[in-house]
């Protein structure tokens, strides 16, 4: 009788993955939390967070707000169902991905993709770039207005120091790694010019000095892009892999 009751309870209550939501007693953020948040943002929004401090702040803020939400039991039931659905969706994807990644794609497959899509792997132009960071927008704007017609890096630097700018010399960078808002100011083949002030956040305003521009011939070597190709092929075969795994549970 006892076992029948347990079985009955199992079928009545366990019809999905169980999610237990409890408020956090002390809001703490570990480095592991920060790293996982960064990889979550990278995967979901294709955005790379380079600042750990900023990531930690967001995780902590989210945790505080989520905690407050959980204190009100009125919303818990519907939220639990939503989270269960999202969690199952996420776990299902992760399981398929894990299964896919456990089988390495042969080199011949990757290399044949590389040969057939060589234009995708053409080397992109590079710019020699210096960033001047200002703490006030007014200073950045004044510097820009006074220096935009100076085509001498030393004079530009002296002027920037006058306005208290912090300099960072990036050297040669491929235009593919530049942020979109900066990329829109890059002129093909042009050199020795300044971009207008670009707002980074409330306390940082960047102006970039483009020292030089060069076109690069040829293709990125296969060894450098094979990881990228692997990802593309895993994505293309995701549905196929999912169906194949599910075949085992069809009966």
């Amino acid at each position: 009788m006892k076992y029948i009751t347990i079985l009955l309870l199992f079928f009545i209550y366990v019809n999905a993955i169980e999610v237990n939501l409890l408020p956090d007693k002390e809001i703490k953020v570990s480095q592991h939390d920060v790293n996982r948040y960064k990889s979550y943002v990278k995967q979901k929004y294709n955005y790379v967070i380079t600042n750990d401090k900023g990531a930690r702040k967001i995780v902590k803020e989210n945790r505080i707000l989520a905690n407050e939400f959980l204190k009100n039991p009125r919303y818990l039931k519907s939220v639990k169902t939503d989270i269960t659905i999202m969690l199952e969706d996420y776990l299902a994807d992760r399981y398929v991905q894990n299964m896919q990644h456990s089988i390495k794609i042969p080199k011949k497959v990757l290399y044949s993709y590389y040969l057939d899509h060589k234009d995708k792997f053409r080397r992109q132009p590079e710019v020699n770039i210096v960033r001047y960071r200002f703490s006030s927008y007014d200073d950045a704007l004044k510097f820009y207005q006074e220096s935009k017609d100076i085509a001498d890096p030393k004079k530009v630097e002296a002027k920037a120091i006058q306005y208290g700018a912090k300099k960072r010399d990036y050297g040669w960078k491929s235009i593919t790694v530049l942020k979109k808002r900066l990329l829109s100011f890059i002129k093909k083949g042009a050199k020795d010019y300044l971009t207008p002030p670009i707002v980074n956040n409330a306390n940082n305003f960047n102006i970039y000095y483009i020292k030089d521009y060069r076109s690069v011939d040829g293709y990125i070597p296969f060894e450098k892009v094979k990881g990228k190709i692997e990802k593309i092929l895993y994505n293309q075969t995701f549905e196929k892999a999912r169906e194949k795994i599910l075949e085992r549970y069809a009966k």
Partner: protein, 145 residues
């Protein structure tokens, strides 16, 4: 001992000699001069002949291994078979020439002669992937024959 080594060497030479020998099929022709072609080119012509012989006979189990490895990786065989079964009927394919786009990528110019007397000039791509040539297949919308 010496005899065994000599026999082995003979077998290896025989194998190398045969590996790039261009096979003769009644449904595949070669109109280009193959006498002074490189070993790599001969291998391509051999693969082309085998591929089209099987393809015109609709033996897709045999053509599938000739397709580019990444295409095979992302494509189901049943889809491949269904996709190609309406393209090219019985007839003959003739290889006219080979143009290199780069050392591992070629455009092969060919003509297809249908059984109803129709003739179609087409091109196709072959890639040299590590140690062999592979054909690139396309999704056909209308059958040519």
């Amino acid at each position: 001992m010496k005899k065994t080594i000599l026999v082995n060497i003979f077998i290896i030479f025989l194998f190398i000699g045969c590996s790039s020998k261009i096979p003769q099929y009644s449904n595949v022709g070669i109109s280009m001069d193959t006498r002074n072609t490189s070993k790599k080119d001969r291998l391509l012509i051999k693969r082309f002949s085998e591929y089209w012989h099987y393809r015109l006979n609709r033996d897709f189990n045999k053509t599938f291994p000739y397709e580019l490895p990444y295409q095979r990786y992302v494509t189901d065989f049943s889809w491949y078979k269904d996709n190609l079964k309406y393209s090219y009927g019985k007839g003959k394919v003739v290889l006219d020439n080979i143009q290199y786009k780069d050392e591992n990528h070629t455009i092969v110019n060919k003509r297809y002669f249908g059984t109803k007397g129709n003739q179609i000039k087409t091109t196709e791509e072959w890639f040299f992937v590590i140690d062999n040539w592979y054909h690139k297949f396309h999704q056909y919308i209308f059958p040519p024959d």
